[in-house]
């Protein structure tokens, strides 16, 4: 557990951080978010003493961080910076081995830990271990940065805009990878971001900051449903119903009882359509290749013509996809149903627009809250979700 009590950082006249108190429970992710210059980085860096607080108390598992030497403290805290900061002269393996080496681990133990971590962050150890940072793409470098922070299995992880400098698609994948890893390793994480959707997706709690002060510290749902102030309300934006979908995964609402065939379109007739709208076409390994629309089939069109061939990379979601992303994918493709595949393209099920609608209306909270927002005097919301 990380606990900040009345922590203040003053630079001359400016109060970069103003009496912040918050607690990050063990194994949870807290996200620091807020407009540029509000003190997120300063707060984060005070936890591992890269910045010394002017006043206040910072404890990790009940121990005052000021009572430990900075070097020793930092070796126990994983740290990921926005610009990744991999050492360009060291290989990927050597980069990851940094803290284990500082801790004096044995060579074999380091080697096996490096392999393990590369696999955890989704990089093939044999292929990437001996590469140099300049041979990596932005997304790969970020993954290595995360692996390096996890190297000595620190209980606490500090991440400053870890997925900031990559394209949206890569970011989505990195977020999914982070969720998966966090489910396994259960670190106590403080993550800084500019992106409200990212905060809602990854955070167990969100700390919204404004000019050095903590505006609200709550679970994402609470932040969406009960904004403590107009600032919070405006910051989160108008599309909170949509934002809410960012908390729910496709896995939670998908149907798995879909009809699929590996025999191509030859044997498909109306009888094959047992209830569902589609018969999915897969290859021998179960990888999605397309589908046949049963309504078109029922209208008398031959199966070959009623079929659609697709690339699963473009026309399907994964179980980790948020409903928000799935919805936008549906709108983009013009589909009311979206196939769900695993990361190798094997068909797992489908998610329907109706299921998403039900999720949205299932919580009435947001409806009352929209009205509340107007009471708070919000003008016509601009719907801006991201702040730069």
């Amino acid at each position: 557990m990380i606990r900040l009590t009345e922590v203040t950082k003053r630079y001359g006249e400016t109060l970069a951080v103003d009496r912040i108190s918050l607690e990050v429970p063990t194994g949870e992710v807290s996200v620091l978010i807020g407009p540029s210059g509000c003190g997120k980085t300063t707060t984060l860096r005070m936890i591992n003493r890269l910045i010394e607080p002017t006043s206040g108390l910072i404890e990790i598992d009940g121990e005052d961080v000021m009572s430990v030497s900075p070097e020793e403290l930092r070796r126990r805290i994983g740290y990921v910076i926005q610009s990744v900061g991999l050492f360009p002269h060291l290989t990927v393996a050597e980069n990851i081995a940094t803290v284990p080496r500082l801790l004096g681990w044995k060579r074999e133990r380091i080697a096996s830990r490096v392999r393990e971590l590369l696999a955890v962050v989704g990089l093939e150890p044999a292929e990437y271990a001996e590469k140099y940072p300049r041979q990596l793409s932005g997304g790969q470098a970020q993954r290595v940065g995360v692996a390096r922070a996890l190297a000595a299995d620190p209980p606490v992880l500090l991440m400053d805009e870890p997925f900031g400098a990559v394209d949206p698609l890569t970011r989505e994948r990195l977020q999914a990878a982070f969720e998966r890893i966090q489910r396994e390793v259960r670190k106590t994480v403080v993550l800084v971001t500019h992106d409200v959707d990212e905060a809602i997706r990854l955070g167990d709690r969100i700390a919204l900051m404004r000019t050095g002060r903590l505006e609200q510290y709550d679970a994402p749902e609470a932040l969406l449903d009960h904004p403590a102030s107009k600032f919070v309300h405006d910051f989160v934006g108008a599309d909170r119903a949509l934002k809410r979908l960012g908390r729910v995964r496709v896995a939670d609402v998908m149907r798995t009882d879909v009809v699929m065939t590996a025999d191509g379109t030859r044997k498909i007739d109306v009888a094959a359509c047992s209830g569902g709208r589609f018969v999915y076409l897969v290859d021998d390994d179960g990888v999605l290749e397309g589908w046949v629309d049963c309504r078109v089939l029922a209208a008398g069109t031959p199966a070959e013509e009623a079929g659609t061939r697709v690339d699963w990379r473009e026309a399907a979601a994964t179980p980790d996809t948020t409903l928000k992303d799935a919805l936008s994918q549906m709108l983009g493709l013009g589909f009311r149903d979206l196939a769900v595949v695993d990361d190798r393209g094997r068909l797992l099920g489908e998610v329907s627009l109706r299921a998403i609608e039900q999720t949205m209306s299932g919580s009435d909270a947001h409806v009352s809250n929209l009205a509340e927002g107007e009471v708070l005097g919000a003008p016509a919301d601009t719907g801006e979700g991201e702040v730069e």
């Binding site: 591992n48 890269l50 900075p70 070097e71 020793e72 403290l73 930092r74 070796r75 740290y79 910076i81 610009s83 990744v84 900061g85 991999l86 050492f87 360009p88 002269h89 060291l90 290989t91 940094t98 803290v99 500082l102 590469k131 140099y132 940072p133 300049r134 041979q135 990596l136 793409s137 932005g138 997304g139 790969q140 940065g145 390096r148 922070a149 500090l158 394209d167 698609l169 890569t170 994948r173 990379r313």
Partner: protein, 396 residues
């Protein structure tokens, strides 16, 4: 998805860059210069004795070897226009063979022209041959670039060394004036080379010993940077002769004689400082702040951060500074012969004094060789000690 899994291609090597070109302009230029020098200018000069003025003799004086040399240079010119796949082998081969043949042609011309002449008659290398040698050096440079693989390169070097060696042993090379000059000076020559190396080596060594820490201090403190680099830059602007003069007074005050090895080494050290201090500073200042922040954030102490991150990242520039200093100091070490420090400058100045051009050359040519060797050595060292992750030429 798409931009993952595809490593960013490593920086293209210089060899890659010449791939695309249809014509190797550099090789073509070198070959053309060499060929025209060979054909249009006197290849050798005949002198009645070592200080008499020379009479130019065309390349034909070398007989069939002269014709062969011209033919090879023409072949080099043609090779520059061949497709890259052929060029990559043809250029090193033709560079190696033409080097050996030009040397052999010089020997042959010397032997022929001195036949029946008095013993003190001399044949020295003429302007045409010098131009040819410079042109061939350019072809070598292009060949080095065009041939990406190490084996071809060293095969070419071995071929050239063997050819020149053979020409020196069995051709008429010892008949050349330069060789005769060497024979006359052979007892002094190697000690002078040794002195030259000692002077330059000491200058570079002390320069690095003082300059690298100065560069480190400059990267830590603004005042040190402004004062240190300012002073070192002013030193650099002092002409070398003036420097030796300026050192007299302070050395006298310290009780050191202003003549001999000590003041020479001091002067050379001062000259070596600027490139070393400046490059050390620039190298350290250029270290990615994100890497430092990450290192600090992972619990590296100051010493580890310096030795484990800053030094390896600054190393390429530091080595480059030492390389520049080495080339500079090897040249300036010639001047210190004036204050009795010895070195190859002794031969140069004596040659001038006696108007014996070939004696001057006997001092100057080895200096060029030393400078080129020091340059190659430092580059080779860089290839060994600099991490492949930050090397200029990607180790693909």
């Amino acid at each position: 998805m798409r931009n993952e899994g595809h490593p960013i291609p490593a920086e293209a090597t210089s060899a890659d860059r010449s791939h695309g070109a249809r014509v190797d302009r550099v090789a073509g230029f070198g070959a053309a210069v060499a060929l025209s020098g060979c054909v249009a200018l006197p290849f050798v000069e005949f002198r009645e004795n070592r200080i008499a003025s020379g009479v130019g003799e065309a390349v034909t004086a070398a007989g069939w070897l002269g014709w062969l040399a011209c033919a090879l240079l023409a072949a080099a010119l043609v090779a520059a226009f061949l497709p890259h796949a052929i060029r990559a082998r043809a250029l090193p081969a033709v560079a190696a063979v033409s080097t050996a043949v030009v040397v052999a042609a010089l020997g042959s011309a010397a032997t022929t022209l001195q036949e029946g002449q008095p013993a003190f008659a001399r044949v020295s290398i003429g302007p045409g041959a010098w131009v040819a040698i410079v042109g061939i050096a350019v072809v070598w440079f292009a060949a080095w670039r065009a041939s990406a693989d190490v084996r071809t390169r060293w095969l070419a070097v071995a071929l050239a060394v063997a050819g020149v060696g053979a020409a020196a042993l069995w051709g008429g090379v010892p008949e050349l004036s330069l060789a005769k000059e060497y024979a006359a000076q052979s007892r002094r020559f190697w000690p002078l080379v040794g002195q030259h190396l000692t002077l330059a080596g000491a200058g570079i060594g002390f320069g690095a010993l003082i300059g690298i820490p100065l560069g480190v201090v400059a990267s830590r403190s603004r005042i040190a940077r402004q004062v240190g680099i300012g002073v070192v830059a002013i030193i650099q602007t002092i002409p070398s002769m003036a420097m030796l003069g300026l050192l007299i007074a302070p050395l006298a005050a310290l009780g050191v004689r202003a003549i001999g090895t000590t003041p020479a080494i001091i002067a050379l050290t001062l000259y070596a400082l600027l490139p070393i201090v400046r490059n050390t500073f620039v190298g350290l200042a250029g270290v990615d702040p994100a890497a430092l922040d990450a290192g600090r954030g992972m619990g590296m102490g100051r010493a580890r951060l310096f030795l484990g991150v800053e030094v390896p990242l600054a190393l390429p520039l530091v080595l480059e500074g030492i390389r520049a200093a080495a080339v500079l100091v090897i040249g300036i070490a010639a001047v210190t012969a004036f204050i009795g420090a010895g070195g190859l400058g002794v031969l140069v100045f004596q040659g001038w004094g006696q108007q014996a051009d070939d004696l001057t050359l006997l001092g100057a040519v080895p200096m060029v060789v030393l400078a080129v060797a020091a340059d190659a050595l430092m580059r080779g060292l860089g290839r060994v000690v600099v991490s492949p992750g930050i090397r200029e030429e990607a180790a693909a």
